[in-house]
Amino acid sequence: MRDQGSGPTLAKRQSCWLGAGVLFLLSALLILWWRAPGLPPTFPTAVEHLDRQIWLAGGANLFPKQYAAFHQEVTDFRQHWRVEVTRWWATWTLEEFTDTNQQLMQLGATLLTDTEKKALFQQNGLKDSLKAEQAQLVRLRRLNGLFDFRGKRTPLSHAESYLAQGLSHLAQGQLDAVPHLLMQAQVVIRPIEEILIRQMIRYSNEKKIAQWARWVKDTIEHSRQTGGSAMVVIKASRKLQFYQGGLLRHEYPTDLGFSGLQDKLYEGDGATPEGLFHIVQKKHKGETKFHKAFLLDFPTPAHQHRFSHARAQGLIPGNRGIGGLIEIHGQRPGQRELTNGCVALNNATMDTLFPLIPLNTPVVIVGTLDPINPVSKTLEPIQQHHTQRESVVQPSPIGLSRQVIE
């Protein structure tokens, strides 16, 4: 009985399992079919590579918001893909996936181009700024020996060192270090530049040049009227003109002190005084250490008035006096410098002039007679760079310039 009944039941059960198996297989095939045109099994690396390229080009610093947004979108895109590929059924079609990928690729390509352009612009901008400051340093250094450079030489060398370091960092691709070095150099250069501009500006001042021209004209006129001698010293071109009877007889090259283009204010400033003077003493060989010399009547009342005014304003350092012993003289044997504030001629010129110049001969010393002179020509690019920089540079931290400048 048992055997009779178990046969059909077993067969029924086997059929049931077979049916379930077939159903399972069909379902699996259906799922596979449904997923067949689905998402790629691996995430596209191109968009990730692009993300990295933007970062390497400096996108995170140059376009922080845009880069952060792009990076987040790539992350979200990948996360979305990851969720989709682990699902039994997809909610994202291949077209949607491809579209998103293409959009991100386009967005990334634009951001990469912008980043590279901005990085190059920034790099070139920094390089140009460093080079412009180097050029300004060269211009300022050319004034060494013409204007007062005391306490300025070593700071300018430091500034040059900062600029050279900046260029080296730039060459090594370390852009981050450059702006600080540029600023350090500018902090040193700016106050020195301002002082020198103030010293030079007289050579572009029309009123001042007109005054100097008037002094010269009056002196030559006096020479013409009296038939006597006169000397005109033009500091910018370093010339001494010798007049007789109002006529120019000779022109000689001269040397001045270490800041000879400035107007003398106090003892030891190395400046050559400007104004109308007279020869009060002729020093023969043996009476001066400078071969031969003409002593001028410096200080005149005008210079004394100017000195008193400057002292009252606290512009005279220490207990310095007004100075004196301003001469037109020859060369001192073995001396490094010809003069410290006088007008120096070579000995042969002194020998020629000495017998021709009597006592009380008028001497006029001026900066220039020409509005376009060597100083104004030098001043123009210095001032131009200064103005340009001031229009873009923020004020420097107070105290840093004092710390650096001697």
């Binding site: 682990t86 370091q165 090594q172 490094r336």
Partner: protein, 204 residues
Amino acid sequence: MNAASTIIRTGTLAILCGTLAWGCAEKPVQVTDQALQAIQAAKEAGATDYASEDLRLAEDEYQKAQEEITTQDQAFVLMRNYDEANAILAKVVTNAEQAKTKAIANKQQAKMDAEAAVVLAKTTLADAKNLLAQAPRGKGTQADLQALHGDLQAADTTLGEIDPIMAKEDYLGVKAKAESVLALATRVNEQVAHAMQKAGKVKA
């Protein structure tokens, strides 16, 4: 209980156990730690400055591994699979080790370059000092000489700043300073040589 039923029960139990064992896959904690340690080691070797691209690649892969782990964590317990995460983390370790190797090599190269630049700067500065001592003195040279002394003073100061940054292993900074010393010293050498030539002295 007949034989067929026993087979079915045993089979079901085995499938359940197998599924549970598969579904209860462990999070790759140990490999994550290894990956993090490898990244940290690369950073300590200077990869941030000397192998930034490789380090970034390792960090990106690490982020991907974390995303994969999060996805698996959120999946149904029986369906969790950390194989992909493990594979990515293994790549992280490889990339981080590569970043470390490259960083060590690049840093060593940077150190050698910096040391060479310092040697050259020191030699040129010493030459400049000797030459300046022999510079011709005469008409109109005082201001120039003072400017050149200023250059050497600034070069000395910059040279003095090199040791502390060398100790900090900032070799790119060392090279920049050494090159600035070299620039100042070279200019002094050139100007003095020019002045000597002008004065009729022959440069030693």
